[in-house]
Every structure is written in C-alpha cells, then in structure tokens.
C-alpha cells in the first residue's frame, strides 16, 4: 500500500489485525517518510530505526503465532524528547543532556510498548519544554508543514509537525501551559491535555511539576482516545496520579451534544482578531447545531493567568532544574577544576538563554523577601481560578474558547519573548486549574493556516471532553494533510 501514511493510527491497527498490513511494513513506511522529510521539518531529533524494525518483527511474530496483541499493536509512535525510553538518549533539546542515556522507561512508554506500540524516535521541542514556537531547541528549529517559514508551535512542536506531515501516525507531547494544544492547533491536528493526575509523569523530565501532563497528538479524536485508553491510568511511581480505575475513551458513539450545556466566556474573549473571532463564532454555531445549549460564563479572572503562570512555572522550573549541575545530571564542563566551578560552568555552558532567564525569574519569586509578594500571591490566585472554573462548571458541561488567539506565526517574528508569552492566554488556564482540555481543528478556507477549537471539561471528565471533541470533529470537515506531504 503506497499511501498508508494518510490513514489514522486506529485504521492502521485494524488493517494490521485483519492481515492487510504487517507491523514491519507500517514501520518501514514511516521510517522512509522521516528519512525523506525530516531535514525540512526538524521534527525528529533521533530516529530509532533498528530498534523499531526489531520491535515490528517481534509483533508480526506474535501475530503469526496467534498470541494476544495489544490495542496499539503495530502503531509507530513519536516520543517527545523529554520522556525516557530506556537505553536511549533523552536530550530535552538541551546541550546539557546531549549524552544522557535514560536508565529507565517512562510509564507512558512502558504502557504503550506493552500495548504493542512501536516507539520510532524522539521528537524535537523547546529546550526543557520552555517555549511556544519550537525555536528554543538547541539542535534544530521545528517547522510547520503547512508553511515551512512558520512555527509549528511549542513546546511539543516536533511531535505536532511530525503527525501533521504524517511522518508518524501519532506522538506524545507534554503540556505545562499549552504545549500540546497550541502546536496541535497550529498544525491542524488533535492535541489532548489530560486532567492533572490522569497520566503518570514518571520518566518525564519535569518543568512545572504541578502542571505538567503527558498526552497525545493525533490526526483524529479516535486516535487520541486510543492513546489515552492505554496511558490514562494510575502509577505507583507518580503519587500525584489518581487512585481510580482508568476511564474508557474509545466508546465514541455519540455524534451530537443533545442535552449538553457549553459555556463561552465571551467577556474574556473580547480581544480576538477578526479571523479568529469569525472562526470561533462558526465553531460555536456548530456546537449549537449539534444540540448543545450555549451559555455565557464568567471567567474574567482568567486574564491574570499569564502573570500567575509565569510566577509559578518559573518557580517550579528553578527548583526542578537545580539537579542539572554537571554532577548528578548534565554534561560536566571540562574547564572546571573545583566543585563550585562545575556547578556554575556546566550550567552556563549547558542551558540556553530562555532556560537561564526562567531559572533566574523563578529564583527571584522564591527568594527571601519576595516570596509573599509574588509566589504566594500567585498560588492564591490559582486557587481563585480553580474556584471560578468550579462555578462555571456548576452551570455547564464544557467551556470552549479558541486554542490560540492567532494562527501559526512566522519563525523569528517575536524578538521579545515576553510578547510570545502573551499568546498562551487561552491554554494556560487549564493547567492552572488542572482541567482536561483538547484542541480540535476547525474548518478553514483553502490556503488558510489551521486554527483550533479548545474544549475544556471539569477535572476528571477526560472521556467526556474527548466525546464532545468527537462530536465536533464529526460535524466539521475532515482533517487535511499539507499538500507538500501528501
């Protein structure tokens, strides 16, 4: 089959089960796509071709012998390069971890491998997941397959671009302030951030521990549901995961939203540019056509989200990244000859400028004399935001807003990173309130760049969010493949 990259992960799995395709054939096809297109896109930092082929052969053999096969059998998966695969390098797109070999696999990787998935390589990101454009990688800029001069978004830009260009049928991302949902919107695919605690963070290199979540980037909601079905479970190695049985995500039967109430925070959204406004209005009309009742909700407090986020996320980052000292973790400076020099010189040589800035800011807001004014204040604001969402969800089932106020911007267009921070205003609230959120592509005119609709649900209602996204997807036009990557 020549064009099997145009098929969804779920479809590939079904064809494999039916005997129409082998795992080896599928894996080889995607490896060839990576070989052909990765130089242009910068999506993969490392490709594990031999391991992937070996794993594919093992799966084909299991099938031939009639042994049980997992729900992701024969599906190649891209793994964001801040998540460990045992025995392979995890760089976090930082020079600091250029040689760091993961001593164990992340729980999500282990679960997917047990389900028969084939990790095919590590995808590019902003260094230590700090960025919204993919430009902060120490190795290569990620590019958007819809327009190579534009950003694929970040920080999971490598995964999003790889899935959108069909270099891999599905990939993982991690989301601390929108790092799954924003690149999904920019690349015209589906990205899901689970409720905080739904997916194990064991084996994910921490950025903002109270907000980080791993989730799927996929070409359709069904595929995102498939990955969540496998990774959405409690883990003894991550005490913040729920002590609850996993939800069922694949029961995507309902193609309408009859009886559901969708909340729209119109007042919070008053500054949308005309194209985003028109697209969002049309998405809301689609939700109404699907049977949902549209209701305004008051979430004005969210206008403080960016300020709260940049205090809390940097505070957590400065703490988390203190372990990268050239001794316990990270490449040691060869110029250092005392312990103190090792710390300082290794960190100077290892970290990029955006990471240094966030560490310094985080150190400041936690430092003596400023902790109450900044850090504690932000924690209180976070509590208020969570309460505001709780009140909103007492009156509605979902809250919707655009995933991003803009579509993919040209690479290098933000000389001042502060202005880029402001673009995350619609994705950050879900992380602060620990909510599940999904970005699904909205229909755009031929030649226009993709945009996303974001659907948020109450904590722990991950499957319900997936269901609403499925209904929306069914009512919208099919997801397109960028012409250059057909």
């Amino acid at each position: 089959m020549k064009d099997l990259h145009t098929l969804s992960a779920s479809k590939l799995h079904r064809l494999f089960l039916r005997g129409d395709l082998s795992a080896f054939e599928i894996t080889n096809h995607f490896l060839a796509r990576i070989e052909a297109h990765n130089d242009a896109l910068g999506s993969f930092l490392k490709v594990h071709a031999d391991k992937a082929r070996k794993k594919a052969c093992a799966i084909d053999e299991r099938k031939a012998r009639g042994l049980p096969l997992g729900k992701m059998a024969a599906i190649p998966v891209g793994i964001k390069d801040n998540t460990h695969i045992r025995g392979t390098i995890t760089t976090c797109a930082s020079k600091f971890l250029a040689d760091y070999r993961a001593p164990f696999s992340a729980t999500v990787v282990r679960l997917m491998e047990e389900a028969g998935a084939i990790p095919i390589g590590k995808t590019n990101l902003d260094e230590f997941s700090m960025g919204s454009s993919g430009e902060n990688s120490a190795y290569a800029k990620s590019r958007n397959p819809w327009d190579l001069e534009r950003t694929p978004g970040g920080s999971s830009g490598g995964s999003a671009a790889a899935v959108a260009a069909r270099l891999v049928p599905i990939a993982t991302g991690s989301d601390t302030g929108g790092s799954i949902r924003q690149p999904a919107a920019f690349c015209g695919i589906v990205g899901f951030k689970p409720t905080y605690g739904r997916v194990s963070r064991y084996g994910l290199i921490a950025f903002g521990s109270s907000m980080d979540q791993i989730g799927p980037l996929a070409t359709c909601v069904e595929d995102a549901a498939l990955m969540m079905e496998i990774i959405g479970r409690s883990c003894p190695h991550d005490p913040t995961t729920f002590d609850l049985p996993p939800e069922t995500y694949l029961d995507l039967q309902k193609k309408d939203l009859e009886g559901k109430v969708v909340g729209v925070p119109w007042s919070f959204l008053h500054n949308l540019d005309p194209q985003s406004k028109q697209s969002f209005d049309s998405s809301v009309a689609t939700l109404k056509d699907l049977g949902a009742t549209i209701q305004e909700v008051d979430l004005d407090l969210l206008r403080y989200s960016i300020a709260v986020y940049y205090i809390l996320a940097t505070a957590e980052a400065s703490t988390n990244l203190s372990r990268f000292d050239g001794i316990r973790y990270g490449k040691r400076s060869t110029k250092a000859d005392s312990v103190e020099d090792i710390y300082q010189m290794s960190r100077n040589e290892g970290f990029g400028s955006e990471v240094k800035k966030r560490i310094l800011l985080g150190t400041f807001v936690l430092s003596s004399g400023h902790q109450d004014e900044f850090y504690r204040k932000a924690q209180k604001m976070r509590f208020l935001m969570q309460e505001a969402f709780a009140e909103a969800f007492s009156a509605c089932d979902y809250v919707v807003m655009p995933t991003s106020p803009v579509n993919a911007f040209p690479l290098g267009s933000f000389q001042d990173p502060f202005h880029m921070y402001l673009q995350d205003m619609f994705t950050i609230p879900a992380n602060l309130a620990c909510l599940p959120g999904i970005s699904v592509p909205v229909p755009v005119a031929e030649g226009e760049l993709p945009l996303g609709l974001q659907i948020l649900g109450p904590q722990m209602r991950d499957a319900a969010v997936m269901q609403a996204a499925y209904a929306f997807e069914c009512a919208s036009s099919r997801i397109q493949i960028p012409r250059a990557f057909l």
């Binding site: 164990f104 190695h237 913040t240 729920f242 710390y343 001042d416």
Partner: protein, 103 residues
Amino acid sequence: MFKFTKDILRYLEKLSCIQCSTEEEEELTQSLQKILEYVEQLGEIDTENVPTFWSNDQKTPRQPLRKDTIDNLLLKKPYLDNVESTAGMIRVPPVLTDKGTSS
C-alpha cells in the same frame, strides 16, 4: 513599581549558579523588569483571606503513600553510566583544597 536592578540579578545569578555575560545582564535586567511590571497587575485582586492552591487537594483521590520498602526499581549501573564514577560512586573534584573549601 518594583525596580529590578543589576545588583538583584547578580544576587540571583549567585543563588542559581548561573553566570551571565555583561550583554546578557543588560538584556535580562530589562526583560525581567518588564515581566515583573506585568505581574504586578495581580495586586488588583484582594487575596487577603484566600487559601493558597495545593494541587494535591483532599477532594481528588490520589495514589496512597506506598509502603516504605526496598524496591528494585532503579538499577545502579545505568545511572552511573551517565556520570564519572569510581567503584560505584560519583567522582567529583576535591571539595577541600589548599585554600580551604572550594565553595
């Protein structure tokens, strides 16, 4: 309005074991000043009697504390493969030098 100075930046550099060049210091002082001016808007909301957020709240059932038993989860060798080591221990330069402690 809070004034973020180069002296504060140098103090933070010391605390976080990061040293910046003169040009970086110039850029960072301005950039951090701008961010701190932006976050000052949080002062518009009265949070006097508001509790602080704690993600591990009691409303959500989380993993129970695991038993305090030895687990073979983390193997020593793959960890030591990532660092300079001798006889199963991480090698570092001498902490005590002729001039006293290195820090």
